[in-house]
Symmetry: C2
Subunit: 209 residues, 2 copies
């Protein structure tokens, strides 16, 4: 099972590493971190680099494609070589997935036209501009395309995908393996749940991805 996770400069690390931590535990998983040019890709604030070991050309036909988000995803929305690779890979994937603003790239590649899709809650207008129909659901599946909401939602997306691909037992075993029994100290993880002044604060800072 070849799994390609796209990397690029100014990505959000957890968008990629959340699904990675789940999907890499699929029996037989071969995860390839790919980028236009192999090498270290820096996160938005520059503090961390994740290494892409392969170029896009080297991984033309992954069975699972994961497109993370970040400010760099927006910058790639007009980058034809990346969009071509996404389109071409999608033709033969079993699953095409995104986390956060990664769905903007799926949209820019023309894969979401008229389809329900998720993204970071602050990026709904941009997603709609690609032709998709944004929803506030955390994980949205339409056929073989699975899009997730902001940043941390990639963990839920990947567990959902594992259940579809390998069954509920495998998904539950991986959940237990990574001890994913979430207990956030607050209940502020969505704009529907967070206090209004917190939503306003985050809109102002908009240091999201």
């Amino acid at each position: 099972m070849e799994i390609a996770i796209l990397l690029f400069d100014r990505l959000t690390a957890l968008d990629a590493v959340g699904p990675y931590e789940v999907l890499s535990r699929l029996p037989g998983a071969q995860v390839r971190f790919v980028a236009g040019e192999p090498g270290p890709m820096r996160t938005e604030n520059g503090f961390l680099a994740l290494t892409a070991d392969a170029s896009l050309d080297e991984v033309p036909s992954p069975e699972i494609l994961v497109v993370p988000g970040g400010f760099g995803a927006r910058e790639l929305m007009g980058h034809e070589p990346t969009l071509d690779w996404i389109r071409s890979a999608h033709e033969t994937t079993k699953w095409t997935t995104s986390v956060c603003t990664g769905s903007l790239l799926l949209g820019a590649a023309g894969l979401l036209d008229g389809l329900s899709a998720s993204t970071h809650w602050l990026a709904h207008d941009e997603l709609a501009a690609t032709g998709a129909r944004p929803t506030h659901e955390r994980v949205v599946r339409v056929g073989k395309i699975i899009t997730a909401a902001g940043v941390s939602s990639g963990i839920d997306m990947a567990l959902t995908l594992v259940a579809l691909e390998a069954g509920d037992d495998v998904s539950q075993a991986i959940q237990l393996g990574i001890e994913y029994d979430p207990q956030p100290p607050f209940d502020s993880g969505s704009p529907q749940k967070a206090p209004e002044h917190i939503v306003d604060l985050v809109r102002r800072v908009a240091s999201f991805s």
Copy 2:
């Protein structure tokens, strides 16, 4: 606010990246990824490398120390230069933290003697052998030491830390920024909650960290 996240070969990526994604959003955060020798550090299965930009010597006095886990953490339990650095850094930290089997390193450094602490649910015996008193709580704070349970718990740990350091509003804003509104498809994230045959399965495979 200087934040040091220890890296080493055979680490579990999410142990480091979960707290990173939260703590890097603290106002004024300067995150340093440190290792014995700077360079790319591979995860347990080798698919991903995270880059350490600084050596331990270059970051002797971080205000926040984060020690992730992974098979490589066990291998460092007898590595005196790493344990010396942890002990020395701890003397002046505001917060000393661990995720998953990272607490085995805090224990091996002598920081947990007689203290309650958390770790991956499969590593309780090893943690006890360092003199700590393992608990099944997800986030355990004793003074300035905060230890977390397995892998994904680092996100909850970091949000807890942010609330202590910068207040509830900042923690809630970061939670909303990373849209951390967990909705796992199953409720199998702890050995207390998972079906017995899943717990047995994971014990057998023990591909944890």
